[in-house]
């Protein structure tokens, strides 16, 4: 088997375009997921039965369905329901729905780490709930939530590759297109693998930096 990395040069524009789509997709879903997941996690610990029940149902139903099936819902289903969106948007919605359910569980574990007495103290002092979440709960939960958050981010980065199965021209799909044109599997899959590896390793480095920054005094 010959390995000829020179072939990559000829396809660099396509691969670069795919890499950019992957990064945008990843940033979009993390940007959307973070507030949604936080809201779901807060709903689950809110103490309001119907709100907690709705959030738990969402999390449990979504987590029992394969991501690919959720992407098929948005890719095949939305047009049938009369909603026409680009494959990128369909994949973004599907990935957001899926990741927010998993991330909500990760964040909930962090919120649960805060001692019960803090809630009672805030209630006793008459602190409004919104203020309590922003000024007491989240600052203390951040150090605990940091590691699971970045682990989830790396999982969702890798999950963006599945968008290639619903016609999104991201890194995996551009690499596969080049592979089918040239039959050079090792070169193009190697390029894709190394790209994902570099981004996920950068995320791990970012995690270490953020963890240092949010450490409690």
């Amino acid at each position: 088997m010959s390995f000829d990395p020179q072939i990559l040069a000829a396809y660099l524009p396509e691969l670069w375009k795919g890499l950019r789509v992957t990064l945008w997709l990843f940033l979009a879903i993390m940007g959307l997921c973070t507030p949604i997941a936080l809201a779901i996690a807060l709903a689950r610990i809110s103490g309001r039965p119907w709100l907690a029940w709705a959030a738990a149902t969402y999390v449990n139903v979504i987590r029992s369905i394969p991501l690919l099936v959720i992407l098929f819902f948005t890719f095949y289903g939305l047009p049938v329901a009369g909603i026409y969106v680009s494959p990128f948007t369909a994949a973004m919605i599907g990935l957001t729905v899926c990741t927010s359910a998993y991330l909500a569980e990760d964040l909930r574990a962090g919120l649960m780490a805060i001692p019960r007495g803090q809630y009672e103290a805030a209630a006793a002092m008459g602190l409004p709930p919104g203020r309590f979440v922003a000024r007491v709960l989240i600052p203390q939960a951040l150090p605990v939530m940091c590691a699971p958050y970045f682990t989830r981010a790396i999982v969702s980065l890798k999950a963006t590759s599945i968008a290639s199965m619903v016609a999104v021209g991201e890194l995996t799909s551009e690499s596969m297109a080049a592979l089918t044109e040239t039959y050079r599997a090792a070169e193009f899959l190697g390029f894709a693998a190394v790209s994902y590896l570099v981004i996920s390793s950068l995320l791990a480095l970012l995690q270490a930096a953020v963890q240092r920054a949010v450490r409690l005094p």
Binding site: I65, F72, T172, L179, A185, A186, L189
Partner: protein
């Protein structure tokens, strides 16, 4: 838009074959990767620096790459590199096994690290042969902390087999997507598929609760 589940009446034999394929791939991956994960876990905590370094590097490589890319490598690169023919299903199983060995391996390593150091010293002081010490003393103590995350990873693994369709293994989701294209009934098909995966998930959760209780009670008996 109206839901009409009668498509299932005509298409279920085709989809059922996919379900068997999904279960067969999942079962094969679980059976093959469980012992490999124990080996990987041991290598990840090995005292020998070369073994540990190799295991940590391999684990970083495998876990930093999307499973889909690993499948493609197993299907397109491995046969050429090893000069053998690999059908879609064995290639898919190989890909998932490689990925899950290190995913589970990290769990095993974490479980082994949780066993108090004194236990290792005690088996050494008692002169127990290493293999017997591991099998009878160290591993049983690591298992309670490994089982719950293991079952949760296993449910992810079963759902992850949906990717096998990308290299031509005709499992449930691939057959579902072909049925959607043939019938243009995405919601009916996908809701049915979601229910099937929900049931598989429910079975695994029952298994998890049962195993947690079993291992926990063993712990309690020992204490």
């Amino acid at each position: 838009m109206e839901l009409d589940f009668s498509v299932w009446a005509q298409r279920w034999p085709y989809l059922l074959d996919g379900l068997w394929m999904t279960l067969a791939i999942s079962g094969a991956v679980l059976v093959i990767s469980a012992p490999l994960a124990v080996v990987a876990g041991l290598a990840l905590v090995a005292r020998n620096r070369v073994i540990r370094g190799a295991a940590v590097t391999l684990s970083w490589l495998v876990r930093g790459v999307p499973p889909l890319i690993i499948l493609f490598i197993c299907y397109f690169v491995l046969p050429v590199a090893l000069n053998l023919r690999l059908e879609p299903v064995p290639a898919a199983i190989a890909g998932f096994v490689i990925y899950n060995t290190f995913l589970f391996g990290e769990l095993v390593a974490a479980g082994l690290r949780a066993v108090p150091k004194g236990q290792h010293e005690a088996v050494a002081a008692a002169g127990l042969p290493p293999l017997r010490a591991f099998r009878r003393v160290i591993l049983p103590q690591a298992i309670p902390s490994i089982i719950p995350p293991y079952v949760s990873y296993a449910t992810d693994m079963v759902k992850g087999t949906a990717l096998a369709g990308s290299i031509g293994a005709m499992e449930l989701v691939t057959r579902a997507s072909q049925t959607i294209i043939a019938t243009n009934r995405p919601f009916e098909i996908l809701i049915g598929i979601a229910v099937i995966y929900g049931l598989i998930d429910a079975c695994l959760i029952v298994l998890q609760t049962w195993s947690e209780r079993r291992w926990a009670s063993k712990e309690a008996r020992r204490a």
